[in-house]
Symmetry: C2
């Protein structure tokens, strides 16, 4: 009953549907989210999804690209910064933690898409590919200047990304099981610091002034 945004006309309706769809899809899964609920909570008419996105699935793919793009953009910025490779990898970890904390829906949306078994839409694949290239770019730079332990590019990138994603995803269960609340900013900062240290030790050669 609480419209995410008052739909004035056209573009407003579209963005309200994307915002509401993102929340409802993440919470209930693709099948669990009904067109009726999304349109009602977005303050639009039942037919709005069909009209603007063709179908429920059309809205879903629009939601995916809308939520993935800003994250990968920020990873790209972190990767392009000045500094030693290992420090830029730390920035990537930080970007992931921050963005996922602000958008906890994202991992759920992504993994539900993957779990569905069907091949991901081309747009989504392209975005993920871009993200992988940013990270492997940093890694290769570190291998070239001898500051990072050599290893498999994609697997190393996955090692970096998996921890922020997994911790964000499992946050409710982690609180239930271990009493650690990653929703709390202080605790999340602690987790981010832990992962950054872990990645540093795992990928870099020991450095004299290692923290």
């Amino acid at each position: 009953m609480t419209p995410t945004k008052a739909p004035g006309r056209g573009e407003d309706t579209r963005s309200a549907l994307v915002a509401t769809g993102r929340r409802v899809f993440a919470h209930s899964g693709y099948d669990g989210a009904s067109v009726r609920r999304i349109t009602r909570e977005a303050g639009t008419n039942l037919g709005a999804i069909t009209y603007h996105f063709g179908s429920k699935r059309g809205l879903y793919e629009a939601v995916l690209t809308h939520v993935l793009t800003p994250l990968v953009d920020r990873v790209g910025e972190a990767a392009a910064r000045a500094g030693r490779p290992i420090e830029r990898l730390g920035c990537v970890v930080e970007v992931f933690f921050d963005y996922l904390a602000a958008n906890p829906d994202l991992p759920r949306l992504m993994l539900q898409e993957v779990a569905a078994g069907r091949p991901a839409p081309d747009a989504v694949v392209a975005i993920i590919q871009r993200n992988a290239m940013y990270i492997t770019g940093i890694l290769k730079e570190g291998w070239a200047d001898g500051s990072l332990r050599p290893g498999h590019p994609l697997l190393s990138a996955l090692s970096v990304v998996s921890q922020p994603v997994y911790m964000t995803l499992m946050a409710p269960l982690i609180r239930q099981v271990g009493g650690v609340d990653l929703g709390d900013p202080g605790t999340r900062a602690e987790a981010a610091a832990h992962v950054m240290a872990f990645v540093r030790s795992g990928l870099a050669f020991a450095s004299p002034e290692a923290e």
Copy 2:
């Protein structure tokens, strides 16, 4: 009412429903999996789920515990083995990779349970808790004998677990994006070795004969 010790033919139906439910739930999600499809593919009658598990949700929780328990049991065995803590951590990583490769449904099931937002069933929480205790037990042992870098117990355990789970979960997308097929045993062994080395460097102090 659900009999706790059903004799005869009933047990076959129960296990057929659990096996089929596990596959279908993992593939289509909770809402996407229909009672009609599960019962049909299990070769049982439409009413069998209601009769044996009370409801669709009852079957779902039975599936979760049935698939989680053997994994945690194996982690417990690995944790109880002789050897240095860092090596037993490597065994845990290996157990995860092997078990998840044989049961790729598991992470999807878990994820959907977490993403649903509702608190996890007590039985599931207890199993996860047991798993966390096995791993933190190894860690604390390593901290006591000085072979492991001190750190947060639960966060360190999450760092270990997150990578096998994430890689298994994202395997289809990883193949689509990077052309790396974790379904192939050789590639999976390479990934396991990578993660074991990563964990070793990330958690242990550098050792003279480090492999």
